[in-house]
Symmetry: C2
Subunit: 326 residues, 2 copies
Amino acid sequence: MSRPIVLDLSAVILAVTADQPRVLTVRRRDAGHSTPDSVPAMPAGPLDPESDRTLELALRRWIREQTGIEVGYVEQLYTFADRDRDPRERSGGSRQVSVAYLALVHEQAVAAGVPAQWQNCYEFLPWEDRRGATRPPALRAALGAWATAAPSAATRRLREERCAICFGLTPAGWDGYLALERYELLYEAQLIGEARRESVPRSARSSRARDFGLGMQLDHRRILATALGRVRGKLKYRPLVFELLPTTFTLLQLQRVVEALAGVRLHKQNFRRLVAAARLVEGTGSIRSGGPGRPAELFRFRREVLRERQGPGVRLPVAATRRAAR
Amino acid sequence: MSRPIVLDLSAVILAVTADQPRVLTVRRRDAGHSTPDSVPAMPAGPLDPESDRTLELALRRWIREQTGIEVGYVEQLYTFADRDRDPRERSGGSRQVSVAYLALVHEQAVAAGVPAQWQNCYEFLPWEDRRGATRPPALRAALGAWATAAPSAATRRLREERCAICFGLTPAGWDGYLALERYELLYEAQLIGEARRESVPRSARSSRARDFGLGMQLDHRRILATALGRVRGKLKYRPLVFELLPTTFTLLQLQRVVEALAGVRLHKQNFRRLVAAARLVEGTGSIRSGGPGRPAELFRFRREVLRERQGPGVRLPVAATRRAAR
DNA sequence: GCTTTTTATACTCATATTGAGCATATAGCG
DNA sequence: CGCTATATGCTCAATATGAGTATAAAAAGC
């Protein structure tokens, strides 16, 4: 019989806390991984072809077992199956296929003793956060060097064009949806640690190459980039944000969650006009004070919007993302 | 060792010809299927975990072998893995997982002797075509009957609400993107032949239940619905249409392809204003005559639009889809 | 040759949406 | 009180959208 297939379920579990998108990571204790235990990974585990009726049920089971957390909204992301994406394969093991899922939750405490941890998504993909001045300053230079190092003038122009589109240096501006394209560009440019870890024996690794952001096990950072791109795209036409918010919230809370995911700042007055016009939310009458500033009204999601509007979501203004590109 | 996993690649290969979206189907000759050979299926074949480096390469290999056609644009759609989605499993076989892909091509002739065939997508999903008066007239009544037959008043209201949203009976109008939701609704309502074929022994099948549209093998119609929804959504923010058009085309050709996929009619003058304003195309100067009417200028896709615009695509006007709903 | 039909393309116009501000209200704090 | 921070209301110009009208240029029918 031919080499067997192992089908893994992996979960990108996202929450937004304190204006930051957070991802739930585990420190895997499985044997067989060549990467050290200290490298974070997504919760993941194999499908049991006998007893798991659906992929989603298997996924929820693994999440529960590995993190103790119950997830609500879940959606399938992508299936990763390139050969040698897992070093276990090279040592003659089975073919490792991974079906990745996206889950959205409110951040909840991890039980004591469970080796799971919430981490800021942008620690792994720092170039994706365009809200402040915190993006990696050396990135642009490194990309320029990569383009210059092209073997031919034509390749060089292609590389420059790709960089310009991916990083918003064109009139089109910054497009949050392209998170995966950016990851793959940086991977090709050897600016992602995993690119070297997987293709070169440990001893021969180029020490000159650098890594922007923290690394993850296997291709889990690619999976995270896929998830981020998907969320950013879907935000615009599905009411996903509300999965990440408490049942009642202020408009600023809503805006901050959108901004955290999209990675850009928005114009406050226009944002509230937008959600008001789209009738995405309704006031509850009650008011939340406590912090500084004038107290804000609490709102809740209007489910009825699904009946009233096509593609109900928070359409991000393009200009805001154009501004962020500067 | 536990029951093995077989990973299939299946391809929804779409083209648009004569104002109709077409899908490439095969008459499978494999043994082991309980469905008769005359039922169409998508091209599909198992991943060879030894020799197939990536899923996409395996997919292209299977498409070539089964249809003789070379596909260009390819994108992963979804992974289907529910238990018992394939009757081969029930007879103690391996777990059947299928990674579905979408491919876009220009319709090309199938070589003689190859058991592949182009068919109109809307023959399988007739309710998805809202361009004319051709939608199944009895569908609405059948859905109404299903809602009425609900076991409780609450369930009934839920069913009615789902029908209204899915079939555009609300102020939100018709949303082409919801193709999969509609399929699943009809499946639940026992208005899809496959729903009965799979859950009930052949002898006990309800003869009263009906099927709107032609059936396909296994869950391939569900996969087709997934593909249609994906194309319709992505059309709006990616220049997918041009994969289906020759290098030069008239604006009416472009509009007809969009309409065929979206399943709705569009306002001609506004459509050309839209593509002109988005700078998606550029005139070639040459002119195509031959048919009736004033000759039209030939246009070509402007690749540069990727640098200039965010989410470059054919944003369908919502109102057009609202009109179609009436 | 003239009319009808069919398609292409230009232009109009009222209305809606967007981007960017200004202005004012109401809290906590030193 | 004055300062700062947030909430919320409102304006205004620039664009985009929906729905037409008008005219041009071909083929087909007679």
